[in-house]
Structures are given as structure tokens and as C-alpha cells.
Amino acid sequence: MYKVLSRITIIAILCLFSLANKSIAADSTFTNHVDIDLSRMSATMVYSIVYQMVTEPKKFVGKRIKMKGAFSSYYDEAVDRRFYGCVIKDALACCSQGLAFETFKPRKYPKDFPSEGSPITIIGRFDYEKEEDGIGFPIIRNAIFIK
């Protein structure tokens, strides 16, 4: 009887702890907690989910996302801003999609970035950036690189 009770107490404490842990993690940009871990999914799933993110971004705003892909960047002269992207390919390797991201710590390009096309894994918070003309694009904010 005593044994059972003690076990229940331990479990209850553990549960509380994990809940507390979660609430801290949700606010923190430093931990590795993620809501959607794309890095562990198959290519088909990754492509489908990213497609959903691009077509219906509102469902995903605020979620912490981990993804694996190829690094890519381009400079948009119209807005004088350099965009960084994590690009994934579908199972046929004929279609590719990407999500733009912003690094957590400001970094210098190209010194602090990997070379074009090299594999990267990032974690960050999904957001939907509205542009002045009303059309927006999804972006991952506060992204950190994972080795």
C-alpha cells in the first residue's frame, strides 16, 4: 500500500514538473523544445506540412518548428534586405519549397552563415509576416542553428 502511494506521489510530482517545464519552455527561445519536429519526418510528410504552412499559415503561427534542409539566401534589392531560407525538396526532387528564417542573434553575411546549399537544421518560432501590399509570407523567427 505504502509502495503504491509513494509511486503515485512520485508520478504526480513528475507530471507537475513536466507541466512547469513546458510552460517555461513555451516562453523560452533558448531551449530545444519544439511543437512540430520536421527533422524526424519523412520527405513526403515534410513537403506536405510545409505546403500547408505556406497555404494556410494562420494555423501555425506561434508554433516552434524544427526543420532540416538546404541553406539558401538571396538579396532583394527592392526592399534592401537579405532573405535566408531553409529549402526542402519533395520525394521526386522536382519540386522544392522553402521557409524563410531570421536568426536569433544578428549575424554577418556571408561570414557567419553556412555556404549556399549546405545542409542545416534550425529551430524557431513560426510567424506570418505581412507586407504593405497585404500579401504576406511565412517566416521562422529567432532561429538557432543546431549541429
Binding site: 519526418m41 519523412s42 520527405a43 513526403t44 510528410m45 515534410v46 513537403y47 506536405s48 506540412i49 505546403y51 500547408q52 497555404t55 519533395d90 520525394a91 521526386l92 522536382c94 519540386c95 522544392s96
Partner: protein, 280 residues
């Protein structure tokens, strides 16, 4: 792996894909038996290319829902091909070859000239090989697919005997007073609808496989029209489900994985029949 599967099933679009995939493969296999027996196996390929051409036009015109252009165009071509068959100047297979290659070329050309999105190669590739489309359906598409498949299924069940009579012997059916022209028209419309739906599942180039393989597999093993129809339906549904699940788990393209499953089923049926006929 099982955990992984349950995890994936949590996503609504995966569940939609499974439901829609099952319904589409069920419909396509039922009509596939009729098509194979009427010697119209290649019509699936022809019509899907037409649907691809219509899709190109629809995407240039920027219609709210592509289906509103694709469906009518495909239905009209299906009716022309299947019902104008006998007295037409250009005979069946030549007409299909002409229409399918023509539509494909025009479709690709239109997509290229008036490219609506930046990724033309990707769009073309997805519609042709169906690597993803079933997993990226919008909810309106899902409802449309489900509704159309149910209509097709009900029509098939209701007119099953008439379809059999016409498939087996059109002349005799006409002599006994069956309205053959009406039912041929109905079959053509149903087939067009199925082809358009099946493009979502396996892509335009592979539609023929979805229509033909289950019917041919079932015909190896079973001997009555009823058992062939039921077996084709079961084989098709099982192969599509297995194909979708494998594609999701292993990260392979959906369309070609399903067709690979269909080929495997065909080989199993072929070998079964071979062994059985040896024994007797």
C-alpha cells in the same frame, strides 16, 4: 514505426488523404473492369492528359476552383471519344492517341507561356506524377472528391446489371431494348469524373495504371463478372492504402508507390493463376 504512423495520422490532411484515396481507388477499379473488357484500357491515359490541358487553361484563367473547368472539358472529350466511337472517321485508339498527346503538349505550352506561378517545372511535375497532390488537398477539394465518388459508386451499384449487359454485348443489349446510347453516355461521364479524381491520387501519367491493374489482376484469378468486380475493388483499395502509408512513412512519392503496389498485386495474381493451371 507504428508510433510514427500514429503520429502522422494525427494530422488531418493525412486522414483526408486516406479517405479520399480509398474512395478514388474504389471507383476507378469498378469502372476499370468495364474499360478493360470494352478494349478501352488506354482511355484513362488519354482523358487524364486532357484534364491536364484543362488544368493549364484553368490556372491561366485563375478560376477560383480548377475543377469547374477541368470536369466539363474532360466529360465532353470522354463523351466524344466513347460515344462517337463506331461511326467516327478516326478510329478509337488513334483518336485517343491524338487527343492525349495534343492536350499534353498544349497544356505544357500554356503553362510555360502564361506561367502563373514561379515554379512551372514543379507544378507540371506534381500534376503529371502526383507526388504530393493527395496530401495537399484543400478541404473544399476533399468534400468535392467525397461527394463525387459517392455519386459514382451509387450509379455503379444501381446500374450494375445494365453496365454488365452493355459491356458484354452492346448489340444484343440494344436488340433487347436497353437504351445503350444513354448508358454509354452515363459510363463516359462517370469515367471522366473518375479520371479527374484519380489524377489527384496518382497524377496524370499514372492514371491508366490505377484503372487497369486491379481489373487485370482480378481477371487472372476470378471467373465471374461479379467476383472480378469485387476482387478488383478490394485489390485496388488495399494497394492504394498500402501505397499511401508506405509513401508517408518512407518518404517516397505517393503516386508511383501506389502503382508499384498494384504491380506487385498483379504479379501475385498472375503467379497464383499460373500455379493453379499447372496443377490441373
Amino acid at each position: 514505426m507504428f508510433d510514427q504512423l500514429l503520429f502522422y495520422l494525427d494530422f488531418p490532411f493525412v486522414r483526408y488523404a486516406i479517405i479520399v484515396g480509398t474512395l478514388i481507388s474504389l471507383c476507378s477499379s469498378l469502372l476499370g473492369v468495364t474499360l478493360v473488357l470494352k478494349r478501352y484500357s488506354y482511355i484513362g491515359g488519354g482523358l487524364s492528359h486532357v484534364a491536364f490541358g484543362a488544368l493549364a487553361i484553368a490556372s491561366v484563367l485563375k478560376v477560383t476552383n480548377n475543377m469547374f473547368i477541368i470536369l466539363p472539358v474532360t466529360i465532353i472529350v470522354a463523351v466524344l471519344l466513347l460515344c462517337g466511337g463506331k461511326d467516327a472517321r478516326i478510329k478509337g485508339d488513334a483518336a485517343i492517341a491524338m487527343v492525349s498527346a495534343g492536350a499534353l503538349a498544349i497544356g505544357y505550352l500554356i503553362m510555360n507561356i502564361f506561367s502563373a506561378s514561379a515554379n512551372v517545372a514543379g507544378d507540371v511535375c506534381t500534376t503529371l506524377f502526383g507526388s504530393m497532390s493527395i496530401l495537399t488537398l484543400k478541404s473544399t477539394d476533399v468534400y468535392l472528391c467525397v461527394a463525387l465518388s459517392i455519386v459514382v459508386l451509387l450509379t455503379f451499384v444501381l446500374f450494375y446489371h445494365k453496365i454488365f449487359a452493355i459491356t458484354f454485348d452492346e448489340n444484343f443489349a440494344r436488340a433487347t431494348g436497353v437504351n445503350v446510347n444513354l448508358f454509354n453516355l452515363l459510363i463516359a461521364i462517370i469515367i471522366a469524373v473518375i479520371i479527374v479524381l484519380a489524377m489527384n491520387l496518382v497524377g496524370a501519367l499514372l492514371v491508366s495504371a490505377l484503372v487497369v491493374f486491379p481489373a487485370l489482376s482480378a481477371m487472372r484469378v476470378f471467373k465471374s463478372f461479379f467476383s472480378v468486380t469485387i476482387a478488383a475493388a478490394i485489390i485496388s483499395v488495399v494497394c492504394s492504402l498500402a501505397g499511401i502509408l508506405v509513401a508517408i512513412l518512407a518518404g517516397t512519392p505517393v503516386g508511383s508507390t501506389i502503382v508499384a503496389m498494384d504491380i506487385a498485386a498483379f504479379l501475385i495474381c498472375y503467379i497464383t493463376n499460373f500455379i493453379r493451371s499447372r496443377r490441373i
